[in-house]
Subunit: 726 residues, 2 copies
């Protein structure tokens, strides 16, 4: 579904545009705590049968839910499917799952740390390892032996070790404060909690806000930054059908890649890994997915949804479509331009399609009327009880006022602080250096949240990444985004005048990209190690640009944090408490890019009166081949056709609830064996941002049988096959 | 404002995308009768003081209104401004005004047929007359003598000679019919009326539907197809500030061009022309604009507005932004690519900005609530009277049902029939030839509306135009639009499969553009003259493509006409009648690209607490000059600076009500003297699509004094000066 690798990663040039689904509460940090949070699911009280999660009162009536592993509805699952996962089962699943911090999920599938995820989750790495002479995105990659496995510059994998409830501690810290003080107190306490937990650089600790502030859980991970590429097929089969088929079904994609976890230059050894199912998934079979759904907005208030529907999503559509046009035409200039920009184009196309789907979901009047009715019901219950009315009654209006503020500051906030006016990875590097110089000397709990000690390993991985930087592409993106800066703020805006002077966006972009030395990792290291003094003494034009803009960016960020984020978080906590009191707590929280398990079954759906079968076969891919991108099967496939069992199931759909970030999630059966690999949702799943519709919402996976068939007959990848089915 | 030249022209490659503001009722024909129509202005019964047109009850409370010349509120104007235009005054204004059929307005300003309009209204012609060696768009154009004046390939000018009410005749023809029969009967009758009126090719007759079917007026024009370019400044000053400044104020644009009307190779002599004001417009002065506002949606029902807000405008935003990106990056390839695509880019940028403004207006909850309240009030009044309830009560629900149908057929209708899947002027030519072969042998009243006899002169002007066609640009547009076709209908759609086969969009586009001979006007003439037999025998690949798609295009058009258009028109007539009965008739109808006069005064506005002064000066342009596009003053201007009176008023704002199509309208005083030249509205005027807000809605014009100052001191255009101020 790709949204995983886009919508959930922030702070990278271009990719910052992909934040359409992240809520305003955390859109700039990329930190889980930055995610919005709220309380019990109003869908549980749905007025219509289409969104029936687990009602507080009883039986499961659909497969809705992205469930916490430490609050899993096992008994209810037994009622519905006759199977109740045990704690041991859940622990095994948790320890066999990994989060890929660029925004995806994955699973360990061998005792030697082999990780299976999607091709599109590793595509950035595959592109980074490619050169103009050898393009692994086009030709695929297969390390014949362990020594041929190559480190991915920017991939970090996390294995979830422990979950601790820290709600009381966080609440105690913010007691009695509001606005900026509330925010500062909470940030400081979370920084302390995370720092105490982060005993070594090989541990990652994130405080996760669940139910929009109803609970705060500390997630402790094993952090693995040495992740190497083992296998990737050609993009021609990984993304067969390209953008036209994205979010569609029937589908014919081998969207897989294999990575390996390393520790001190040796493969990570483990007993916690998923075995391979012999049979694979069958029609109607119970299936689980274990992964990291990035963000949902099912708990948001009506005013927040209105902001998305009327302001943020329309603006995102225009921006994404514009960049899509720019990138397509840039790629048409020549093969090298195509190679260096294609990964970004795919992200934008994926995000555009997903944003369209979300926007259409919010424009669905039935859905929106249900959201309004649910909120009105809750507010009426709150208003009917004087104690609740006093404690919680003002929360909705306060959030609505914050959303109005957000509407006013949206443009400068996105352009200056989220970097949409400066979409260049080199600018991002420069800003990180500038801010590192300013922030790191401060006490840990006083820093901007992405500079606290517990975040430094991730920050350094990005900052010192060996990923290649392409001047022409950087110039394109910076030129375009500076144009957006001038367009959105107006040519008379003081920041615009300060930044551009008399230069055109293209002139400025060319000058700073050509002049900067930040492409050299050694230069970055020297500036980072030299701290503020070195940064201030630098004459590097990109550093100068970042320094020039930083006061304005910090100002608007402060306004956002104090006047919007703090209000939304604090009032969100109140709404969460009201929901807990009124509806109970046995529902799942909105997605937060933390580990969840969803359940469902292999099933098609009815599309405008036509039954969509849940399976495709390898034969279908050959029938669909036109020889032209994006419907061109790779040569290896054409050559292997006669060897393949064409009736092998290729892709399939299930009712599992999922969202962007679940890309790469293992699809397992009740024996916790791999039966498939999640890579997409159908077009209706996009509305799952706001509500799960059991009639149409479907997950899309690669079938385990076709994975084996292809590894064997197309790629001759015996080394991998022997690992996953010893 | 450019919307004139975009939103109102149809059927030209790319430009078909610009139909965002045209209502669905007439989006494909470009014929005035195709425009939506409806009855008395609900704004007249506005619940808020912001949209107070002429209430049926009495005094004018704002300058709202685009008034018919044969129903002008002179007496009420006397009450408000102490001046009542006489019939002679109105006749003189009418005969001195011209409509430019590509979508603009203009005025005759000399006894020798000199016409003043905007640069952006003639820009397509200026580009067509340019070559890679001599780019008049960049360098400007000035015919030193009459013999240097050059014919514009595609411009037709119309002078309004007569207006006749034909309501009774049209109503009689459709009496008792509905659906397709209603539509066919009406079209046939209108074709008859227009044909009877069109006595020679130098007469143009259009039946205009006013008040969305409340009245049908026959507009009889003198048709002039020999229109020659006399003068155009550099685009650098005509559109100084470019897209960033479009719809903005303060402003510094010399957006003017001069054309000349010819008849049998001689300039048209006339006594009906606007004299030049000595003083120009002053603060607070009463001003009129006489022009052709293209289309407003002030009378649409709530379900129609919802369709615009939730379906059509969001889709248009995505499409326009996407093409904008494509075109910007295409233009960046080199100067020739820029030259051949820039005019289209400007159209798209203008239309994108305008569509954003309209969408934001519809998202304004206060405005939309008012629209709902107005409709509810009217429906309640209808429901309260059994006779009215029986006659009119079902109209709103019927239109809502038609809008739901429209939502379902929107994509294939736009792609196949409106040509968005085939954005190529050569495809458009091929389709016109294919359809001419099919349609012209039929009886006049049985033809598709754009092939009836009264439309043939315009059709031939386009078909046999000498305008250059650029293969690379055509290929770009066709490739992109074929990609849209596949994206929107899906790769498995039968039409998509039929069109593309195994080819990619780029392959097909390259093949047909390279292979077609339709660039040659002689080939077009031969196929047109040869009729169906010649077309069917043709092996031209573009003709074959048009033939391949035409059955599908006609099918979806028929569905649209029978199930949407016919319903909207017939039910719109009923609503118009109900409004006439309940609120009276003394209000203005929605804009229909027919001649209107609006009145107002020179006035700034208050922008978020800051007063915006209504005038800029020439000095401001020099202060804003950065030397870089789009803020680069032309060399001629820099050289002339010392000679110019820099205090000369340059641009100014008035309260006149206007919309796209008014581009090029003369701004006149009560002596009917030129005091300015309309070229834009401010950003708030975009909401004027739905309602006029007297607090903020402003017209933007070039001041008459700066026109003279520039012609004299920058361009040394004594020949023009002596004509306009003899």
């Amino acid at each position: 579904m790709k949204a995983g690798s886009v919508a959930l990663t922030l702070g990278i040039a271009g990719v910052v545009l992909g934040t359409a689904i992240a809520s305003c509460a955390g859109a700039h940090s990329g930190s889980p705590i930055g995610q919005p949070a709220s309380a019990a699911d109003p869908a549980a009280r749905s007025l219509a049968p289409t969104t029936t999660a687990r009602p507080a009162s009883g039986a499961l009536t659909s497969d809705e839910g992205m469930w916490l592993l430490n609050d899993f509805p096992s008994e209810r699952l037994r009622e519905r499917y006759g199977f109740a996962p045990t704690k041991e089962w859940l622990d095994h699943v948790r320890l066999s799952s990994v989060r890929l911090t660029l925004g995806c999920s994955g699973s360990v599938v061998s005792p030697d740390g082999l990780v299976m995820t999607n091709h599109h989750c590793a595509e950035e790495c595959i592109a980074q390892l490619s050169t103009s002479k050898k393009d692994f995105v086009q030709s695929g990659f297969f390390a014949k032996s362990e020594k041929d496995e190559v480190k991915c510059p920017d991939i970090e994998a996390n294995q979830l070790i422990e979950i601790v409830d820290v709600t009381a501690r966080v609440n105690e810290a913010t007691k009695g404060s509001s606005g900026a003080a509330y925010n500062d107190a909470q940030r400081a306490e979370i920084s302390r909690i995370e720092k105490e937990c982060t005993t070594t650089e090989e541990v990652r600790c994130d405080v996760v806000s669940l139910y929009h502030g109803g609970l705060y859980h500390l997630y402790k991970y094993r952090r693995m930054q040495d992740v190497r590429l083992v296998f990737a097929p050609e993009i021609g089969i990984a993304a067969f059908g390209g953008d036209p088929d994205n979010f569609m079904f029937p589908r014919y994609d081998l969207d897989v890649s294999f990575l390996r976890l390393y520790d001190h230059d040796h493969p990570v050894k483990t007993n916690e890994y998923f075995r391979w199912s012999k049979a694979g998934a069958k029609q109607g079979e119970l299936t689980f997915i274990s992964g990291h759904p990035g963000s949902t907005s099912r708990e948001l208030t009506v005013s927040q949804l209105e902001y998305f529907r009327d302001v943020r999503l329309p603006a995102a559509l225009v921006l994404l479509a514009f960049y899509r046009g720019i990138l397509i035409e840039f790629g048409a200039r020549g093969p090298e331009q195509k190679r260096t920009s294609n990964s970004t184009l795919l992200d934008f196309e994926n995000n555009l399609k997903a944003t369209k789907g979300r926007h259409e979901a919010l424009l669905d009047r039935e859905l929106f009327a249900r959201k309004i009715a649910e909120e009105q019901e809750l507010r009426a219950k709150v208003a009917a009880d004087p104690r609740k009315a006093k404690l919680y009654g003002g929360a909705w209006d306060a959030i609505a006022a914050a959303e109005r503020t957000m509407k006013r500051i949206r443009k400068p906030y996105q352009l200056l602080e989220l970097g949409r006016g400066f979409s260049s990875s080199l600018f991002e590097t420069a800003r990180t250096l500038v801010r590192s110089g300013d922030e790191l000397p401060k006490a840990n709990e006083k820093r901007l949240r992405e500079y606290v000690d517990s975040k430094l390993p991730a920050l350094k991985q990005g900052l010192f990444s060996s990923a290649p930087v392409y001047d022409e592409f950087e110039t394109l993106m910076l030129t375009t985004s500076l144009g957006q800066l001038r367009e959105d703020l107006g040519p008379d805006d003081p920041v615009v005048k300060k930044v551009l002077g008399k230069q055109s966006p293209a002139e400025l972009a060319q000058a700073v990209i050509k002049g900067t030395k930040l492409k050299d990792v050694k230069v970055r290291k020297a500036l980072f190690d030299g701290g503020k003094a070195a940064v201030d003494a630098s004459k590097d034009p990109m550093i100068l640009l970042a320094l020039l803009v930083d006061p304005d960016a910090r100002n608007i960020r402060k306004r956002y944090e104090d006047e919007v984020e703090a209000v939304v978080k604090q009032q969100g906590e109140l709404i969460a408490k009201a929901k807990f009191e009124i509806y109970g707590t046995s529902v799942y929280p909105d997605a937060t890019f933390s580990l969840r398990v969803s359940f469902g079954q292999v099933k098609g759906w009815n599309e405008n009166g036509t039954e969509v079968e849940p399976f495709t076969t390898l034969a279908g891919a050959f029938a669909r081949d036109t020889g032209r991108e994006p419907f061109a099967l790779p040569k290896r496939w054409l050559a292997a056709k006669s060897r393949l069992n064409l009736e092998t199931p290729f892709n399939f759909t299930t009712t599992n609830d999922l969202i962007g970030g679940n890309s790469g999630s293992p699809m397992i059966n009740k024996e916790a064996e791999i039966v498939g690999l999640i890579f997409d949702g159908n077009i209706h799943s996009l509305g799952g941002e706001y509500a799960y519709d059991p009639r149409e919402n479907r997950a899309v996976a690669v079938h385990s049988a076709s994975l084996k068939e292809a590894l064997d007959k197309v790629y001759g990848a015996a080394r991998i096959l022997s690992e996953i089915q010893p």
